[in-house]
Each structure stands twice: as C-alpha cells, then as structure tokens.
C-alpha cells in the first residue's frame, strides 16, 4: 500500500478511516500500514482528536415554540390567498367541472328560443273599452247593411 500521507488525494483515505467510512477490506489494509508508518499514525491520532472534540459539541435543544412561530409566520402570509384556503384542496379538482357547467348553463340561457308569453285577454280590459268596441261593431254592421237596403229602395222595379 502506498503511504497515504505522501499524496494529497490519499490523505482523504485517512480522514475517511477516522470517520468510519472505509470498507472493511480497505480499513484492514490501512491498519496494517499504520503499524509501520509513524507519519500516518500521527495524522490519524490528530484527526481523531478533531473528531472527538466535534462529537462533544452538542447544540442546545430547539425552542419549544419553534413550530408555533413558524405556523404563525405561514398564517400571516395566507390572507393574500384567502380564496385558496376557503376553497381548500378538496374543492380544487371540482373547480374545472363547475366552471364548465356554469358555461353550459349560461349558453343555454342566452341562446334558447324565446317562448311566447301567454296573454290573458281578460286582464286590463275596461268596461268602457268593451262598450266602445261593441258600438264600433254596430256601426260597421250598419255601414255594410245600409247600401244594400238603399239599392232596394232606389230601384223598386
């Protein structure tokens, strides 16, 4: 095995060994090398020191109200999209269908043939109007009858 300390690329092998990321065969080969290489052994010891110190550095636990603050921040952004929340995810797939139905109904209303409006002849007819109509009919009848009778009278023969 080539000494890892002597090449830049192979030094990562030593770091991977300390991190426990080497395959067992490679780790075993490196351990055999370490038995006879002071430089690599020193590198590994120093790297272990760094690794152990890093292991002991534990951050504080996350604040208990972390989620509450996050959801509050999300809610503050929501009013601009109130309609989305109102409709909700369940309604989303139905929306295109509802829009299509609305269009069809609108089309039917606009383009359907106008039905004849029934007129009730009894509505709005005043007695005077009926009387006048009857007078007019009487007058017309007299006009139609009068010449015939006149002919008879003017030509008695």
């Amino acid at each position: 095995m080539n000494c890892p300390s002597r090449s830049h690329e192979n030094r990562e092998l030593l770091a991977d060994y300390v991190a426990g990321n080497l395959a067992p065969e490679r780790a075993a080969a490196l351990e055999r090398h370490l038995e006879s290489c002071v430089e690599c052994t020193r590198f590994v010891e120093e790297q272990r020191l760094v690794w152990d110190a890093m292991d002991q550095w534990e951050p504080q636990p996350v604040s208990a109200d972390f989620n509450r603050r996050l959801y509050h921040a999300i809610d503050r952004e929501q009013p601009a999209r109130w309609f989305e929340r109102l409709l909700g995810p369940l309604w989303r797939p139905v929306l295109p269908l509802a829009a299509a139905c609305l269009l069809i109904v609108a089309g039917l209303v606009l383009h359907a043939p106008q039905a004849a409006v029934p007129v009730d002849s009894r509505v709005g007819v005043e007695p005077e109007q009926v009387e006048r109509t009857l007078d007019d009919m009487q007058m017309l009848r007299e006009l139609m009858v009068t010449p015939a009778e006149g002919e008879k009278t003017s030509n008695p023969l």
């Binding site: 760094v50 110190a53 890093m54 972390f66």
Partner: protein, 200 residues
C-alpha cells in the same frame, strides 16, 4: 445525455420518501409538511447553530428555511434529493448571514458564553470534574476553530461530520465538484488538526 441524467435524477428522487412528502405538500397536504418539519427541524437548527454559533439567529434562519420550503411548494420539482435542496437553502442563508453584521454578535457570544451546550451524560459513569473541564476546553477550542474557518469549508465540515453526507451530496449543496469538496475538507481538517494539536 443531459436528458438521461435528468431522468436518472428524477428516478432517484422518486425513491426519496421526503421528496414524495414534498410533492404531497404541493398538492395541499398540510400533514406532509408537518412530517417534514418534525424530521428536519432539529438537524437544520443545529446545522445553522454550528455555522453561526448563535441560538437565536440560527432559529430565526431555520424559520426562514421552512418558510421558503412552504412558499416554494407549488413550484417544487423532485429533481434532486429533498435534503440536498433543504440544506442548499439553509447554506445559502447561513453564508449570507456570515457576511452580515449579525455574525459579529455571534462571535462576541462565543467569547462570553462557552457553557451553553448541555452536558452529555454517560449512562454508566459520571465524569469527574477534571474530565468535564477537559471536555469543556475541547468544545471551546473546536468552536473557536470552526468559527475561524472560511464559510464554505465550514459548511463542508459540518455536513461531512454531523449530517454524514457523502462528498457527492455536499458537492450538490455547494454547487461545486466532488474534488472541490474534498479539497475544502482537506484544508478545513488540516486547519482544525493544527488548532487542536496542543490538546493531545
């Protein structure tokens, strides 16, 4: 070829359960967002805390990370691992914050307060006073050493050590090549080894 790579990434992402959850969030499923939050809240806050070494700022930025995840739900595409996307957002915010003046406050707190981390208790034995002091000194030294690393080296080390990410995933988070990640890690660990050598 590019199309093939993209298809492969989509297929890989299909196996990523977190990406599936995110796709459900996209469809309006709030419970899936709750599940992602429950799973990644602590790793994200801890990652940001180790980056910035300020609890209040790290929680504030973690809130922003999840808020951005929620805001992006409608445009989310499962083209990469969910954690890659999530840590990319967190890294972006952390690096921006490091450039910001707020970071100075973190450095001051680092000097003032070295005992904010809860003590790790070993189940079968109580550490002696001397052991606790040695541990305290080690933690203080590592915090100083990590805080002194350049931003990208810090990101690479924290993801490698604490998130146990592979080189390829760190590369995707940092938008660089795997060899660049190895180089970042090599330089970062070398600095840390030199800084902590006196403790051995």
């Amino acid at each position: 070829m590019e199309h093939g790579v993209k298809q492969f990434m989509v297929a890989s992402a299909a196996l990523d359960y977190d990406a599936e959850l995110m796709l459900r969030v996209k469809d309006g499923d709030g419970a899936s967002f709750d599940a992602l939050l429950a799973k990644y809240r602590t790793p994200i806050v801890h990652f940001l805390y180790r980056m910035l070494q300020d609890q209040a700022v790290s929680e504030e930025l973690a809130q922003e990370v999840f808020l951005r995840v929620y805001r992006s739900r409608e445009t989310y595409e499962a083209t990469a691992k969910f954690t890659t996307w999530l840590f990319r957002i967190a890294t972006h915010l952390a690096l921006n914050s490091l450039r910001d003046d707020k970071n100075e406050r973190g450095q001051e707190r680092l000097d003032e307060n070295t005992e904010d981390a809860p003590a790790r208790e070993v189940a079968d034995r109580t550490p002696t006073v001397e052991e606790r002091m040695v541990r305290q000194v080690k933690v203080q030294e590592i915090r100083r050493a990590i805080a002194a690393l350049p931003g990208k080296q810090r990101v690479a080390v924290l993801m490698h050590k604490y998130e146990e990410m592979e080189y390829s995933q760190i590369a995707r988070v940092l938008s660089c090549s795997e060899s660049a990640v190895k180089s970042l890690l090599f330089r970062a660990y070398e600095t840390l080894r030199l800084q902590l050598a006196h403790l051995s």
